[in-house]
Symmetry: C2
Subunit: 314 residues, 2 copies
């Protein structure tokens, strides 16, 4: 039919918006892996008018009440409209607005959708952004957050008891219930990320500041840090070539939890200078919560920011 031909043509050529390339960053990871904290610092760094962030966990197919009668947790692909999520990721990457579903964590209900109109950059954080080949193809940079399980459990208990009204026992029971689906569906996404980010403590320690390790896979062009990292910064940060758990070679950047601020600051400024930005390094990087900073977090976020800004230049 002649009508249908017109659709095809228009969809690929005539709309100015559709030829837009919006740099997109995926931050995947299990519940309470630190996705929101990292995203917030990045959005605050450039401003919400330049970065649109969204959570892909709003694509729940069932509300909390309905899930009670169903044999799976929200970590199961069948519990989510992942096909619609893929469709929306493609639309955002093409600069088109979407009407995004909304799941309320406080009431456990699905609510009125909201319009998400992509700004200059888009960050998508959630359980499933790296789920399929099609979803991954929508992103310029993909990150998987991989904290050791004891740390993630600690974070989840802290968050869910203070912000979501659960008891610690309920959170622990839920973590146990989710474990098989986390293994089956969430953790396999790690191998598809360009960057694996792990915050951890020195072996055997259960307190003290977290260090960060970034595995930089050769799937994208990482910043050249050779002029940034030298013998003078080695105490704070170092780069080495290692093999990942799967045996594949990868660059690993380690930022010490006890790194002195003046040294990490020097590294941050050097990375920042690569980006030709007029402003100083954004103060929002490294903020865990108001008043609490982490230099390993700041450097990690800066590397992600580097990738987003670099993607916008292509």
């Amino acid at each position: 039919m002649p009508h249908k031909q017109v659709v095809m043509q228009r969809a690929s050529s005539t709309s100015a918006r559709e030829s837009t390339h919006v740099p997109m960053l995926a931050i995947a990871g299990d519940s309470a892996a630190g996705k929101t904290t990292i995203t917030k610092g990045l959005v605050d760094a450039l401003g919400a008018n330049r970065i649109t962030s969204m959570c892909s966990d709003d694509y729940h197919r069932y509300d909390r009440m309905e899930r009670k009668t169903l044999p799976f947790t929200p970590l199961h692909p069948d519990c989510n409209y992942l096909g619609v999520m893929e469709q929306h990721l493609q639309l955002l990457a093409l600069g088109q607005p979407i009407l995004k579903p909304v799941y309320s964590h406080s009431t456990g209900t699905l609510e009125r959708p909201v319009l998400v109109d992509p700004a200059e950059f888009v960050i998508v954080e959630g359980l499933f952004p790296l789920w399929s080949k099609l979803s991954r193809a929508c992103f310029d940079v993909t990150v998987y957050l991989d904290p050791p399980e004891p740390i993630r459990h600690e974070w989840k208990i802290k968050r869910d008891t203070t912000k979501r009204g659960y008891t610690a026992e309920q959170v622990l029971a839920e973590l146990e219930r989710r474990e098989p689906e986390a293994t089956a569906y969430i953790r396999p996404q790690r191998r598809h990320a360009d960057i694996v980010l792990r915050f951890s403590r020195l072996e055997g320690h259960s307190e003290g500041p977290l260090s960060a390790t970034l595995l930089l896979r050769p799937t994208i062009a990482h910043p050249d840090l050779s002029d940034v990292l030298g013998s003078d910064t080695r105490e704070a940060i170092h780069l080495k070539l290692i093999r990942d758990d799967d045996g594949k070679p990868v660059d690993a950047i380690h930022i010490h939890g006890h790194a002195p601020r003046e040294l990490t600051r020097k590294v941050e400024e050097a990375i920042w200078s690569h980006l030709d930005m007029d402003e100083p390094v954004p103060e929002s990087l490294g903020v865990i919560e108001p008043g609490t900073r982490s230099e390993p977090l700041a450097v990690s976020q800066l590397i992600l920011l580097y990738h987003m800004l670099a993607a916008s230049k292509h």
Copy 2:
């Protein structure tokens, strides 16, 4: 970026669903113009497993409470996410599912969206399906319902007082309030329809059965009715060449309100026989409400059904 290239390629070639052509029928018209009645008969004719129907008025940007503080009615384009409606129409035409927003007429609130997965055919009825060139291009057949205003007012009062909890005075006040926007935004869609359908009574009559006039514009290939309409059916139905209000030539089929059932039945069966269907003419055609039939409605629906089935063969 290599990632982004992959998106473009996949979106246009690799998914089997995306190469699907789903025949789509638009039924546009003002509030209470008869859209739902016509749609229901068509869906019942082939079955909901073969025809997906949806109302495009769910794309309201504001709920009833919010609209109270705003200077427009739901008939204003700015009161609706028409860009998202266009996007969803394109996706449906390509055979892809959408997560459609939901507006509740009973509560006046925006609710949890629903998945609409297109079946073999799609009917979209609402205020705005013919609004833009892009939205029109998604359809194989477009219809505009154009009853005389007194009849539409009668229908709206009847429906809104019995099904939506308003008084007749409230409905009349609302009709008056909406009049400027109906003139500015709804009625101009009439000129873009392939078929304009008007149910009306004999001039000067305010009671009695409704006749139907279908203007068949030469924008699509209409069924050849020359072997169907003859001197023996002239009492029930006739075809003539006229000029539309804008002076443009158009075929007009008129089906008399008092047409004897045996004659309209003969015409219906003749049109139906063109479609190579095994089943008899569906009983759902012509049903206004359970137990009340209209032969002009039945013939009109049959012509729309003809177009949908014909579109599926291309």
